[in-house]
């Protein structure tokens, strides 16, 4: 964490705002001078006074996460001025739905293989012990069926938009499987 009193260097916020970075500056712990773009984005989207107000309403231990999430949203909106984070949410929700269907299909296949066992329409030779394949219990747990429901927004449909960035791309699908 940057501190103007330690390094005698204004934080990125005070540099941007061209003001003296006082000891106890609310921005200094979260906007180090070596990350100027972080505050620039947050200032562009939210504004310094709004961020100050938001941080003042939070407990000190919550502020770092709050600033990082604001920076994340601000960057998303800078990259996509129309949809911002909502574009990513829409994309990820579709991925969750696709994977849910894939999991349902895989579970159905598992039950089918488990129930079919070995084709045993023929008499078993007398010196062979009777064998049977125990169906393997599908010890799956359905992932959380419903993803976070956003607050009621009047029912508008989220438009599809591909991710403009690649912060943490998820691998596509569950692989080809071992079949």
């Amino acid at each position: 964490m940057a501190s103007s009193s330690s390094y005698n260097s204004p934080c990125a916020a005070c540099k941007f705002l061209r003001r003296k970075c006082m000891p106890g500056c609310i921005f200094a712990p979260y906007f180090p001078p070596e990350e100027p773009q972080k505050f620039a984005n947050v200032h562009k989207i939210f504004g310094a006074s709004n961020v100050t107000k938001m941080l003042n309403e939070l407990l000190p231990h919550q502020r770092e996460d709050a600033v990082n999430s604001l920076a994340y949203e601000a960057e998303a909106r800078v990259r996509d001025p129309v949809y911002g984070c909502v574009g990513a949410i829409s994309f990820l929700q579709r991925q969750v739905q696709r994977l849910q269907k894939e999991l349902d299909t895989a579970n159905a296949d598992l039950m089918r293989y488990a129930c079919n066992e070995i084709p045993t329409a023929l008499p078993v030779p007398p010196d062979m012990a009777a064998t049977s394949v125990q169906p393997m219990a599908a010890s799956h747990q359905r992932p959380v069926g419903s993803f976070y429901q956003p607050p009621a927004t009047g029912g508008f449909s989220l438009p599809y938009n591909s991710l403009p960035w690649n912060d943490n791309p998820s691998a596509g699908g569950g692989g080809e499987g071992g079949i």
């Binding site: 996460d65 949410i89 894939e102 976070y148 927004t153």
Partner: protein
């Protein structure tokens, strides 16, 4: 038009005919602008809208409202919390799919091995029978009647 838009009502100002807010903040929904204003501020929203083509502004305001609501409900993580949760759900689903497919592969492998054991033992039984018949001088062919055990070949 006498009725001010929700933004101008909130800001307590006159609503001009070319008000940038009025198409997107009807007076019957004051909460919409109040929520957006709380997080972004009026001047930031106006600037963002001015930088967009007109046909994209409605979607932009809808998204801003959604994000502002998320931030009001979760002042620490806002929308980023939802994205994080979705990534977690994706990871969980992929893990479950991989586990299920591994179980299927095991079952198939197990079925295949049992078939091979079954067939191998059938071959041994027939081989023993052939030897026995030859020793007895019997010319009966194992490939005869279908009700023999040899028809177990699939």
């Amino acid at each position: 038009m006498n009725s001010r838009c929700a933004a101008c009502k909130y800001l307590r100002r006159r609503c001009p005919s070319d008000c940038i807010f009025s198409p997107y903040f009807p007076p019957n929904d004051p909460q919409r602008f109040a929520c957006i204003h709380r997080i972004y501020g009026a001047s930031n929203v106006a600037r963002m809208l001015q930088q967009l083509p007109e046909n994209q502004r409605a979607s932009a305001v809808d998204c801003l409202y959604y994000e502002a609501q998320c931030r009001v409900q979760d002042p620490v993580y806002g929308c980023a919390g939802i994205i994080s949760l979705l990534y977690q759900q994706i990871h969980n689903a992929e893990t479950e799919i991989a586990k299920t497919q591994a179980q299927i592969a095991l079952l198939i492998d197990s079925n295949t091995q049992e078939q091979q054991v079954y067939l191998h033992q059938n071959i041994e039984v027939e081989s023993d029978l052939n030897i026995l018949l030859q020793e007895q001088g019997d010319e009966f062919s194992l490939l005869g009647p279908p009700n023999q055990a040899s028809s177990g070949f699939i």
